[in-house]
């Protein structure tokens, strides 16, 4: 199975925070900007692709035991979000690409 580190390398992603979690295993991807939807439907080990930088993002990522969060379109995590990612060891990654493009690349990589 691929790890978050493998994905960072293959898709050339920035690592904003939570580098301690780069060895987490990735079971799939979940694309959503609606927090309740992720709460309800995402599965453990998925990489969450979103442009939400809201402070609740890390709370949800940790509750659902997600592998990592990828912020798209050049978005950066808020300071408290990055702190929480460090504590939880869930990496926040970043790309300038859009959600559609990075999702396409991830899908091709891990399917």
């Amino acid at each position: 199975m691929m790890t978050v580190a493998d994905i960072v390398k293959a898709l050339n992603l920035k690592v904003f925070s939570g580098a301690g979690g780069l060895d987490r295993e990735v079971s799939g991807g979940y694309v959503s900007d609606l927090l309740s939807d992720v709460m309800g439907k995402a599965d453990a080990g998925q990489v969450w692709i979103t442009l939400q930088t809201h402070k609740n993002v890390m709370a949800i990522a940790s509750l659902k035991d997600l592998a990592a969060v990828i912020l798209v379109s050049g978005y950066k995590p808020a300071e408290n979000t990055a702190e929480q990612s460090e504590e939880e060891n869930i990496p926040i990654l970043g790309t300038d690409k859009s959600a559609f493009e990075v999702t396409g690349e991830l899908y091709t990589l891990i399917k």
Binding site: D33, L35, S36, L51, H54, Y75
Partner: protein, 143 residues
Amino acid sequence: MEHHEFNIEGGDFTRAGYASSQVKKMLKQMGVDVAIIKRTVVAAYEAEVNVVAHAYSGAMYVDINREEVKIELRDQGPGIEDIEQAMQEGYSTASSAVREMGFGAGMGLSNMKKNADELHIESEPGKGTRVVIRMQLNATTGD
């Protein structure tokens, strides 16, 4: 100069966009360039949704002729404490209910700024907000 008024109900996400849609129809009928129509209605729609998302009630006032359109939104609501901060991309105080409706990215005001020829915002915290969008139209028909 033609004048139109539309009421906007705070919290009514079913109807949000109705006023901007009417503006779009007027501009189309006047034969305004499609790129100008898009910039105008995107700015108007963001402003209209802000009233629905953040205020209790309000209205859109549209003054239009062949050369230009002035779109003014006035609302009764919490107002904006720090307009400069609110303009920053990503800044949002949207409730979780508003976020579940597909808004609250904190991009609306900067979208308005990018699309409007002129944007003016004034606000009295605790009372309400006034937004004015002005666009040059150079329309081919209409009055």
